[in-house]
Structure formats: structure tokens, C-alpha cells
Amino acid sequence: MDEAARGEGGGARIPRWVYPVFFVSGFAALIYQVAWQRALFTVVGINVETVTLVVSAFMLGLGVGSLAGGALSRDPGRAALAWFGGVEVGIGAFGAASLPLIEAVGRACVGLPDAASGALVFGLILVPTTLMGATRPLLVAHAVRADRNVGRAVGALYGVNTLGSAAASVATALVLLAKLGLAGSVHVAVAANLLVGGTALVLWRRARS
């Protein structure tokens, strides 16, 4: 652990790089949520059933991902940071293919009964949202190994991650969608994921060596 990660009196603290990394991670996630919702509404309809389906799939994915991330982080020998980096790269990879995938699902849904098309949309969203849900416990686990105060670690990371989402929410509403459109906004999110994932993997390798 470097000096920057040491608190007063020599107590361990969360490394400073974790904050911007988690901020950007939250920023990307919110862009996806807005962009994917718009894209899905376009292909499968904007009625309340579709809205409910999309929101539920998002929530379930985040919940399942949270449990999966927690399970992965349980083993102290497992590198939570490396897993976090890998998951972020995975989200970015899915993001890059997401809009064509949504269009393909939309085409496939036309001839299907409601239940089948709902299941298809649900399954599509579940993949990236599960990955998103896993990021928090993975990085929290990494941070708690540095700072033994759970509330402080959760509060800090939860806060900075949510602040990233808040910033993305305003940026998407006022700038991104207007200037870049749906595809351009998604590309910003993909770049953010790759940046975060790459940074985490580089830091993990540096710490190992």
C-alpha cells in the first residue's frame, strides 16, 4: 500500500484512485440505463408493461450481480480488483454490441407472443446488468481489505458511484442525447467502461509485481 493510502496515525484508508474509478463506473451505468430504455421502447413499445419489464430486468440484474460479486469477493485470496476490472471490460464489450443486439431482439419479437418477447428482452438486459451489479461488492471488498470500517467503505463507494450516476443523468439529459444521439451516448459509456476496467487491471498487475 502506498503512502497516499495511509491515514492519520498509520491507519489504512481506501486508495485514492478508487474514487474516480467508481465515479466513472457509475457514470457509464446510468448512460446505458437511459440509452437502452430508449432503444428498447422503440423496438418493443412504450406501454407501461414494457416499462415495467425493462425496469424489473435492470433491478433483478443488479441484485443477482450484487450476490454474484459478493460470492466472488468472499475468498480473500481472490483478487477482487482484477475481477472488477474484468467485469468492467465485459460491460464495455456488451455495450459496444448493445444497440445492434436490441434491434435484432426487436425484429425477433415481432412474430412472438407477448410472454416470449418479454422473456427475450428480459434475458438480454439481464446479462449486462448482472455484470454491473457485481462491480459494487467487488470494489467494496477490495476497499474493506484496506479500510476495516464497513460503513465508511460502503458509504464512500456507494456515494461516489451514485454521484457518477447523478452526473451522467444530468449530462445525458442536457448534453449527450442532444449532441451525440443514442449511439454516440452509448459509445461514451463504452469508452468509460474500458478506461475503468483497463485502469483496474493495470493497478492490479502493478500491485502484484
Binding site: 433491478m59 460503513g151 460502503v154 456507494y158 456515494g159 451514485t162 443523468s169
Partner: protein, 509 residues
């Protein structure tokens, strides 16, 4: 705090928080007239509030005790109670603020309430999880409980409760739930019996207060949020229909507002003509025999009522996303017969989705009284992709007639898809064959036009001939394609990707 109690707190706080977000989104969407960035701004403030709450919780956790210490449960219970009281007040405060200041001035109140609710999760994590190598696992279970509560909140509140209760009723329900949550925390706090009894009594008193105060706090919130600074004692909607789709309000004059946006007038009268219904009657001169008609968007039913009685029309399919409009229509005699008309088939669905799912249906006329082009999700019915879908569903010689709401982007988009078009005030009539009016046919059709057996123009009345000629003149005054193209030169074509009418010029609104 035990992990079990922490899980309950995380679950219920997630439920209340996301249910609150659903209610707040409805209120902010209404008060901003469906302005596209409103959701982003509201969500941004909501999340910023949660982030600030988490940061505040982090400070508390840095000072206070750790897992299992019951001394800290009493302040946590008080905090939960205060957070819920604050969230209960968000909509009433928004409604009142919107009558004296811009609606967005209320966003700090929302951020404060969201922050207070958001601080509960890290506090529950701190007091419920031991700081060891298994912390990630414990925290993940608390996150999962919070997300499960959030999911249930979204589903139950957004899909079920909003269809059976009003926003006011759901607000009271959430307030009572918050009081129960605070009581659960107090019940496990390290307090003497007397103080514990007082704390539980405070929870009960808060629950009763939410019942008692709901009337004055939520009095005419929709009127306040629609009329803003002009709100006064006169403002009282005779019809308010809330369901999970939206809020429909009708004024005493028959003006219909869907989600806080003007959505027509329940009137089929061309003389006097409060809603420009002459634009519907004009269709009688632009198509020889529009046997099969599709109407996307029913609203107050006036347009569909006219179309269903148009000479030559045999079948009218109406696709409406909000079934609440059927209840509104049933209250007004001038349109109520629509619901019993054997020619009329009403489908509750998204218009674009319905078209995609019925590839074999073809129409002579597709009419779309589209909502305002700047409204959130207006792209769905104004994008090039949608117009191409509409074009593919027209019979030979068929016409597409839609409300551009004066959007140059919408007009430019139609011109990019259809080779022929004319503009009637703000409605654009387009097709694959030349669009021309037959003045003689229009005159004959309109003079004999009757709805439910009653003539539309009563020529025995003084001045009716002049009114008829004036209406006919408007119907025949179509702006040709070249002029539309000249006026919309430089306007972008709306696509699903650029959402041009919604986002490109949002500042204009």
C-alpha cells in the same frame, strides 16, 4: 444490529425510496409538461441526494460504533422516521412551489428527501456487517435486499398501486410503511422501557398524522402543477383520472390534459370550433372512399367520432396506450357513442408496436393526432423509422395525416419519407400519390355531415352559412409540398437515434 434487521431495513428503505421515485417522476413529468430533460434532472438530483446521504452516513460511521451495537439504533430509528416524513412532503411542496416559482426550484427538496432515504442503506450496512474478510459477502446481501425492495417498489407501486390508488393514497401508504420501519428499528434499540414506548408512540403518531394531513397537503395538486402561477380558487378539475399509464385531467370547458400536456377538447363542433376540428372534417375532400381507417391516439375521442361518421368509412381501428381515456369519453355525450359504435375497434397498445405486430393490416387513412413534438418520447411517433412503417401499411392511394404540432423537424421528416404532401394548418397529409382536394366532394360531404343522426351544421341558425363557408375555406387552403420544403429547409430529419424534435432544441421549451 443483527444482519437480519439490517436486511429488513435495506429491503424496506429500497422499497420506499424507489416507490417515491416512481411518484416523484409522475409529478415532475406532469409539472414540466413532459419536458424531455426533466427526468434526467430529477434523477440527477435524486441520485446526487443519495450520494450526499451516503457521504453523510460515511462520516457517522467513522465516529460511531460498529456491528451489533444497539446504542445506535435509537438515532437510526429517528432518522428513518424523519427521512420518511420528508419524502411524504416532496409532492405537496412541489405543487405549492410550482405556483410561485419555476418547478425546478423544488429539486433541492427532492434531493434532500432522497439523500435522507439513501443514507439508510450504508448505515444498515455499517451496523449489520462485521468488518472482516467476509464483509464483501455481507454487504452484497444487504445490497441484494435493497435491490429486491427497490424492484418490488417499482413493480408494486408503478404497475399495481398506481392503477388502484391515487398518488395521494400511495403517498400515505409509503408514509405508514416508513413509520413501521422506524418502529422496527426502535424495537431493537437499547432504550429504557419508557423511552422505547415513547419512540413507538411517535411512530404511531406520525402514521396517524399522514392520514389526517393528506387532505390539506394534497389538495388540488394537479391543478397547482398545471396552472402554476395562475392557479387560484377557480381551479378545480371535474375529471381527474389517475392510472398506471398517466394522469388525465379535464377542465370544466372540456379541455383534456394528458400528463400535464394539452391533449385536445371534447368537442366535435366546427361552429364554434374550440379545437380546430375542421382539420378532421377536411379529410372528407382528400380521399374518395377511406373505407379502412387507423387512428393512433384516442384522447378525448372528438377526432375519432368525426372519422367514424365520415361518408365512406366502414371500419375504424383506434390504438390508444392509455385505457383511462375510455372512462373519460364515457362521461361526455358528444363522444360517448364511440364506445358502442360497431364500426369502431379500440386496441389498448402502443401505436408503433401495434403496427409492427399487424403486418397484414392495410388502411386507406392513418390518422395520428400526435402529442407535442417536444414532449418526452414524441420521437416514437415522429421518427423516420415510424413514418416508413406507416407508409408500408397504407393501401394504394392511402393517406397519412398527422399533427406536426408546428415542428419543422416533423414536417421535414414526412417529406423525406412521402413523395407527396400538403399541410393543413399544422396537420400534414402525405401519401405516395398526388394529394389534392376535391372541392365539390368536400362541400357535399360536409353539408350533409351528421354525427349520431344530428347534422353537424344547422343551417337554420343565423350565420351558419357564413360559418360553413369559412370552415370550408380553411379545409381547402392546403399548403403545397414545395412551400413546406422551403419553410423547413435545414431542419433535421427525426430518427430514433437523434430524437431531433425532443432533444435538439430543448432549450426552446
Amino acid at each position: 444490529m443483527s444482519l437480519a434487521l439490517a436486511l429488513v431495513v435495506a429491503f424496506l428503505s429500497g422499497f420506499i425510496s424507489l416507490s417515491g421515485e416512481v411518484l416523484w417522476y409522475r409529478a415532475y413529468s406532469f409539472v414540466s409538461e413532459g419536458w424531455p430533460p426533466a427526468f434526467g434532472l430529477m434523477l440527477g438530483c435524486y441520485l446526487a441526494g443519495i450520494a450526499a446521504g451516503a457521504a453523510g452516513a460515511r462520516r457517522v460511521c467513522g465516529r460511531e460504533g460498529s456491528s451489533g451495537d444497539a446504542r445506535f439504533l435509537a438515532p437510526l430509528g429517528a432518522f428513518v422516521l424523519a427521512a420518511n416524513a420528508l419524502s411524504f412532503l416532496v409532492v405537496p411542496l412541489l405543487a405549492r412551489i410550482s405556483t410561485v416559482a419555476p418547478w425546478w426550484a423544488s429539486l433541492p427538496v427532492l434531493a434532500l428527501a432522497a439523500g435522507a432515504l439513501g443514507a439508510i442503506l450504508p448505515l444498515a450496512s455499517h451496523f449489520g456487517v462485521a468488518p472482516d474478510d467476509r464483509a464483501g459477502s455481507g454487504v452484497s446481501r444487504i445490497f441484494a435486499a435493497n435491490i429486491a425492495g427497490s424492484t418490488l417498489g417499482t413493480l408494486l407501486t408503478g404497475y399495481v398501486l398506481m392503477d388502484v390508488w391515487t398518488l395521494r393514497g400511495i403517498s400515505v401508504f409509503l408514509a405508514v410503511l416508513g413509520c413501521l420501519l422506524a418502529a422496527a428499528v426502535f424495537s431493537r434499540a437499547a432504550l429504557p422501557a419508557g423511552k422505547r414506548f415513547a419512540a413507538l408512540g411517535a411512530c404511531a403518531a406520525a402514521a396517524v398524522a399522514s392520514f389526517v394531513l393528506q387532505g390539506p397537503l394534497f389538495d388540488r395538486i394537479w391543478e397547482r402543477m398545471l396552472f402554476h402561477r395562475t392557479f387560484g380558487d377557480w381551479a378545480r378539475f371535474p375529471v381527474v383520472k389517475e392510472n398506471r399509464n398517466d394522469v388525465i385531467c379535464v377542465t370544466t370547458d372540456g379541455l383534456v390534459f394528458g400528463g400535464g400536456v394539452y391533449d385536445g377538447v371534447v368537442s366535435t363542433s366546427p361552429s364554434p370550433d374550440p379545437n380546430g376540428i375542421w382539420r378532421a372534417y377536411a379529410l372528407a375532400g382528400f380521399h374518395e372512399a377511406p373505407r379502412d381507417v387507423l387512428v393512433v391516439g384516442l384522447s378525448g375521442g372528438a377526432w375519432t367520432q368525426v372519422l367514424a361518421h365520415m361518408p365512406g368509412v366502414e371500419r375504424v381501428v383506434v390504438v390508444e396506450i392509455n385505457p383511462g381515456y375510455l372512462e373519460v369519453i364515457a362521461r361526455y355525450p358528444q363522444v360517448a357513442s364511440l364506445l358502442r359504435n360497431p364500426k369502431v375497434e379500440i386496441a389498448i397498445d402502443d401505436g408503433r408496436r401495434w403496427l409492427r405486430r399487424h403486418p397484414d393490416r392495410r388502411f386507406d387513412l392513418i390518422v395520428q393526432n400526435t402529442p407535442q413534438h417536444w414532449r418526452a418520447h414524441a420521437t416514437h411517433l415522429l421518427a423516420r423509422e415510424h413514418f416508413e412503417l406507416v407508409r408500408s401499411r397504407l393501401n394504394t392511394g392511402g393517406r397519412f395525416y398527422f399533427n406536426t404540432t408546428d415542428s419543422p423537424e416533423a414536417q421535414a421528416t414526412a417529406l423525406a419519407v412521402f413523395p407527396h404532401a400538403v399541410l393543413l394548418w399544422n396537420f400534414l397529409l402525405a401519401g405516395d400519390t398526388p394529394v389534392e382536394a376535391d372541392a365539390a366532394r368536400m362541400r357535399t360531404a360536409l353539408r350533409g355531415f351528421a354525427i349520431d343522426g344530428a347534422p353537424v351544421w344547422d343551417f337554420s341558425r343565423a350565420g351558419e352559412e357564413e360559418a360553413f363557408e369559412a370552415a370550408l375555406g380553411k379545409c381547402l387552403r392546403a399548403v403545397p409540398r414545395d412551400e413546406i420544403a422551403r419553410k423547413t429547409s435545414g431542419a433535421p430529419v427525426i430518427t430514433d437515434d437523434n430524437m431531433a424534435s425532443e432533444w435538439a432544441r430543448w432549450g426552446r421549451h
